[in-house]
């Protein structure tokens, strides 16, 4: 009984102590608020005092613009992310599978799994169809069907398919005896909108034009660069002004190129323009001597971004690229291990005489590609050996180079991608426990790394020794307040590696807590965008590579930002697009291409009348759609079969198919089983979208 009372007492005591803290927190917030009128009052009282001495123009300038920056940044952020979340789930329909009775199932991707499992893209709810029965995929100029070792087998036009076979428009595909007619998609870039509870929110973003957003970014960068040029050492000011002008000009040029030659949303590039602008601001304040190099890296990044997008437009070509890049990476890793130079403890640099590069940065691109696989491979061979081997080689090399941060990046990305590929938790658990043990060994073996773990969580105890960088970052962050002290007015730039590892500190000191936060939120947004786009990727190649790239961005951000803020041990990796560093910048752009490639949507300017043009444009570019419009028309004529009437009726009534006696009488030869099958199939494929495509014409 006493024990019980004791435990109750302890409980109430601990609750009381938690509750007791709340007034203290409120108190500190109140005290903060209390300070505001204090300095307002004081400012009014002693305006004469502030104006007594002669004041330089830059003082007035900073006084005003530091309030504008966070506002402009917030607007830019909202204006960029809202359009990117527009359009709900909209995707083209590449073809239809028609079952006997006229019901059509949309083929929405270039790779579609077919089976009884709810996770299949095309759900066939028949007991004799395997859970994962087959994959219908487009590539190398035609459609293919791959049998996933199903029990019932796959037949095309009555002929059994051994592993993979070709499928033509109009062929009959038979899965364990259930027949489907493969029909072409629509000639329009069909966009099917799903109703969403957040539609009202997304509609707000419809009026945001990318041109105005670009203008705001340019405004921000113009004001920002003037602020910096006025604040930094005069000998660099001219160089900085020159760099910023070229950068802004190149932004405009690239924007108009995109506007003219692509049909996709441009806001993704705009967000990254903003980040790269912050990158130049940081470099100008911390290492103005490297401004030209950094500008060159950004431009080179833009070029590699465009090239990779063109190369992977066809996933088949992307797969070839994968093997080439993996081979190059192996060479790079070997070169790095033999010729590498040590900087800040890690031997991950190669000096080419005129320039130094970090080869492992470039390996990231190959790494992301190495993880990709087509859906049929993904569902048949769960063999990860090649990928595991390559990852192991990369991580092993990084440990030899003593680059803990980058090896963590590779490892976590490996986990994310490996799970996407295998879906098998046990494999992953085995690998990660092995790796955790390895990491433990590494940490205990290298006192250099161990000291970073020692400081972790206790940086104020070691404020001037091993916690030096973190405490200075926190001091800088606190000194900046919410709106910052103005570019070039910080002291953190004087600390080694502040423009790479501690870049969050520079951002919050000079540009304020709000802008620093938004910079990180942009990276978070990239991950959500990749996840959002994935549902409608035409190929698993894009889905996996986009997720791999986003994982690299996120884990790098976690290590960089949290390392400098003492939420994690400091590891010395770069913040994507923001940290100073040429290799890192080029590679970030290259990785961004994978996220961009997974976006299939057409921006509003291209919808309606423009939509068809966009499709044509694709053809003009020498890139052929799976469905040839000519074929389509032929197919349509031949295959009239009064489907349209049926679907119009269904679209209106939305009753369980087949609802009316008229329809039933037309298909009265069907037996009960087939009717049940139709209903189930309609349900499983969800929201009647399979039929609506035809109905809306």
């Amino acid at each position: 009984m006493d024990n019980f009372i004791d435990s109750v007492g302890n409980l109430t005591e601990s609750t009381a102590s938690i509750l007791g803290n709340i007034p203290a927190w409120l108190g500190s917030i109140l005290a903060w608020l209390g300070n505001v009128p204090v300095w307002f009052g004081d400012m009014k009282a002693s305006v004469e005092g502030y104006l007594a001495d002669p004041i330089e123009f830059v003082e007035f300038y900073t006084f005003v613009v530091r309030w504008i920056f966070p506002v402009l940044t917030s607007i830019i952020f909202v204006r960029c992310i809202m359009p990117l979340l527009q359009g709900g789930v909209s995707s083209r329909i590449w073809g239809f599978l028609e079952i006997k009775g006229g019901y059509r199932i949309a083929v929405r991707h270039w790779e579609n799994s077919i089976g009884r499992s709810k996770l299949s893209d095309i759900v066939i709810n028949l007991p004799f169809v395997s859970r994962s029965h087959a994959v219908l995929s487009y590539g190398e100029g035609g459609w293919h069907i791959t049998d996933l070792e199903s029990t019932g087998g796959v037949l095309v036009n009555g002929e059994k398919v051994e592993r993979t076979g070709c499928v033509q428009i109009g062929d009959t595909i038979s899965l364990s005896g259930a027949d489907f007619l493969f029909l072409p998609g629509d000639e329009n870039c069909e966009s099917l909108k799903k109703e969403s509870r957040f539609d009202w929110l997304l509609k707000l973003g419809q009026g945001f034009t990318s041109g105005k957003t670009l203008l705001m970014i340019l405004m921000f960068q113009f004001f920002g660069s003037v602020q910096l040029c006025l604040s930094i050492n005069e000998e660099w000011a001219g160089k900085a002004a020159y760099t910023f002008s070229i950068y802004m000009l190149s932004e405009c040029v690239y924007y108009f190129l995109l506007k003219k030659f692509t049909k996709k949303y441009i806001e993704l590039e705009l967000l990254i323009y903003f980040l790269c602008g912050m990158n130049l601001f940081v470099v100008a304040a911390a290492a103005p001597g490297q401004l030209y190099k950094q500008l060159a890296a950004i431009l080179l990044g833009l070029v590699s971004y465009s090239i990779i997008q063109i190369l992977i437009k066809d996933p088949g070509l992307g797969r070839k690229l994968k093997y080439a890049l993996v081979a190059c990476s192996v060479v790079l890793i070997i070169l790095n291990l033999t010729l590498g130079e040590a900087r800040f403890g890690a031997r991950n640099w190669i000096n080419l005489g005129f320039i130094t590069i970090q080869p492992m940065e470039f390996v990231k691109v190959a790494f992301v590609l190495a993880g990709t696989a087509t859906l049929d491979k993904l569902l048949t061979t769960r063999n990860l050996t090649a990928f595991i081997g390559f990852s192991g080689a990369c991580i092993g090399a990084l440990i030899l180079m003593r680059d803990l941060g980058t090896s963590v990046i590779f490892f976590v990305t490996f986990l994310v991608v490996a799970f996407m590929r295998s879906g098998d938790i046990r494999t992953i658990a085995l690998i990660s426990s092995g790796a955790a043990l390895g990491a433990f060994a590494v940490v205990s073996f290298l006192p250099y790394i161990a000291s970073r773990f020692q400081a972790w969580g206790h940086v104020w105890q070691y404020a001037d020794t091993i916690g030096f960088q973190q405490t200075r970052t926190l001091i800088a962050a606190a000194s900046g307040g919410l709106i910052g002290l103005g570019g070039g007015n910080g002291y953190l730039v004087g600390i080694a590696a502040s423009d790479t590892d501690l870049v969050f500190g520079i951002l919050s000191e000079e540009w304020g807590f709000l802008i620093a936060m938004i910079v990180v939120l942009i990276v978070v947004f990239l991950a959500f965008l990749a996840l959002y786009l994935m549902r409608d990727c035409k190929s698993s190649f894009y889905a996996i590579s986009a997720c791999g790239a986003a994982s690299i961005f996120i884990i790098q951000t976690i290590l960089n930002v949290f390392g400098s803020l003492d939420l994690l041990p400091l590891t010395g990796v770069t913040l994507p697009f923001v940290s100073n560093g040429g290799s890192s910048m080029v590679v970030c752009w290259a990785l961004l291409a994978f996220i961009k490639a997974s976006d299939e949507r057409v921006r509003p300017g291209f919808s309606g009348a423009g939509a068809a043009a966009a499709c044509d444009e694709d053809s003009d570019n020498g890139y052929s759609d799976p469905i040839n419009p000519v074929d389509l028309n032929v197919a349509k004529r031949n295959d009239a079969r009064t489907l349209t009437n049926l679907f119009q009726r269904k679209g209106k009534g939305n009753a369980a198919f087949p609802g009316s006696s008229a329809a039933e009488s037309r298909y009265d030869d069907r037996d009960e089983f087939e009717r049940w099958f139709d209903e189930e199939t309609a349900k499983q494929n969800g929201d009647g979208s399979g039929g609506k495509g035809g109905a809306e014409e």
Binding site: G34, E56, G481
Partner: protein, 459 residues
């Protein structure tokens, strides 16, 4: 693609970890940014570890106690005032944790959550901090301590304003001595003993036991205790300096009879003593303008026999924080309501617009108990301590001579209040190893209170 979307939760998890970490950082930022900014290597606010440019610290009469201009620190012109208020202003190097320079460094230096450490044309947005302290009164108290270690506190028990807050040993912050090289002379010099120390209370604790007795013993008024100079309780000997014979509670408090209070403690029991001590502020940290005072400790709930007897007379393992005890004195004077002491004047803050905002009030004794205690404490002065020593002060008080063991002299305590409408002041004086409470600490109190009375009535 559906299956891949499901399997992509790894990325989702990473993104959520990033968001979670950002929230943790934001929380820490809101909570601690003001402390981070105050780290002395922050070049925005400090130069060579000293505040760069600040507003002024002023006492209640506008005397400038401290200011910094472009890294040059200046204090009050009188060295006695400088020493007396060193613990309040701070020592330029941030050694005194409870000082204004440390605890209110953000307001002095102009750091704010929105503006950060922004300075316009090299001028900070630092603001003045006005104290409720009276510099002259503090100097008077510091001199009255005559270099002995200890503390003096005086506050207005109706409004909570602290008028005098002095701790000794101190030093001149303008000529910072080598404190580490003189450990004897500067023993705990960085400590504001009024706020941050806790001592054995000795007989002043009898005011807590007496409050319990008044409430819980129906016959407290008439009951007579027999004192023969010593008494054995469960094998422990409780002693008085000399036999007091037959005493009532009133007499026992006046002559500070240990045996009478030992019997009262045993009769009330450990639980009651502990609960009354906790009402008086023991086992809790009193907050003065957000600065936490040290915690006085009492644990009699399970004490028995001799331990309980000694605990009831302020020995055993009891400790008392001078400031908290002063607030207890204030509550007796203020009809049982304790007004929390404070010393930073919120003169230019919005908080001032709300009446009594930030001044915490708490009833800790019933009005009747407080009145009874008041008459008993008044009786102490008139019967024992000598009204002539405290002429016209209408003093109500209790002395304490706390045995500290070994061959060291006892701590001298004197605590109480002036029962005057025009001078509602409560006070506490502690002189470490000073000897007799009423003689040593009482003399300091008399000097300070007379000066305070003169100041309040001449206005």
């Amino acid at each position: 693609m559906k299956i891949l979307t499901k399997r992509a939760f790894g990325l989702l998890l990473l993104a959520l970890i990033l968001l979670l970490g950002l929230s943790v950082f934001t929380f820490r930022y809101v909570k601690d940014a003001r402390a981070w900014a105050q780290y002395p290597t922050n070049k925005h606010l400090f130069q060579n570890g000293q505040l760069l440019t600040t507003g002024e610290i002023q006492d209640r009469n506008g005397e400038v106690l401290y200011r910094a201009e472009q890294g040059v620190q200046s204090y009050h012109s009188s060295d006695t005032v400088r020493k007396a208020l060193m613990h309040t202003t701070g020592d330029s190097y941030g050694n005194v944790a409870t000082s204004v320079q440390v605890a209110f460094g953000d307001r002095l230096s102009g750091w704010g959550p929105v503006n950060g450490a922004y300075r316009f044309n090299d001028k900070s947005f630092g603001t003045d901090v006005t104290l409720t302290l009276d510099a002259e009164l503090c100097a008077e108290a510091f001199q009255a301590l005559k270099g002995r270690k200890g503390a003096v506190g005086v506050y207005n028990y109706k409004t909570g304003e602290i008028l005098c807050m002095v701790s000794s040993p101190s030093f001149d912050p303008e000529h910072h001595p080598d404190v580490a090289a003189n450990p004897e002379k500067y023993d705990g010099a960085y400590l504001n003993r009024l706020i941050s120390a806790a001592y054995t209370p000795g007989s002043i604790f009898k005011l807590v036991t007496a409050a319990a007795a008044i409430d819980k013993m129906p016959d407290y008024d008439s009951k007579v205790f027999h004192c023969e100079g010593e008494k054995l309780i469960d094998g422990d000997k409780v002693t008085c300096p000399s036999p007091h014979g037959e005493v009532t509670l009133k007499q026992a408090l006046a002559v500070s009879c240990n045996i009478a209070f030992a019997e009262i403690s045993l009769e009330l029991g450990g639980q009651t003593i502990q609960s009354y001590a906790e009402k008086a502020g023991f086992n809790a940290n009193l907050e003065v303008d957000g600065i936490k005072a040290a915690r006085g400790k009492i644990s009699t709930a399970d004490a028995k026999g001799g331990d309980l007897a000694w605990a009831g007379i302020g020995q055993y393992n009891d400790t008392a924080n001078p400031l908290t005890f002063m607030a207890y004195m204030g509550s007796i004077a203020n009809q049982g309501v304790r007004v929390n002491p404070w010393f930073i004047d919120q003169n230019s803050s919005l908080l001032k617009l709300l009446p009594d905002f930030g001044v915490k009030k708490k009833r800790i004794l019933t009005r009747e108990t407080a009145e009874t205690l008041k008459t008993l404490m008044r009786n102490n002065v008139t019967e024992e301590y000598g009204e002539k020593n405290y002429k016209e002060l209408e003093l109500c008080a209790k002395s304490g001579t706390a045995e500290v063991g070994g061959d060291k002299a006892p701590h001298a305590w004197f605590a109480g209040f002036m029962n005057r409408e025009d001078c509602p002041l409560a006070f506490v004086v502690i002189v470490e190893n000073g000897g007799s409470g009423s003689k040593v600490a009482g003399a300091v109190a008399a000097k300070v209170l007379k000066a305070a009375e003169k100041k309040l009535t001449s206005d």
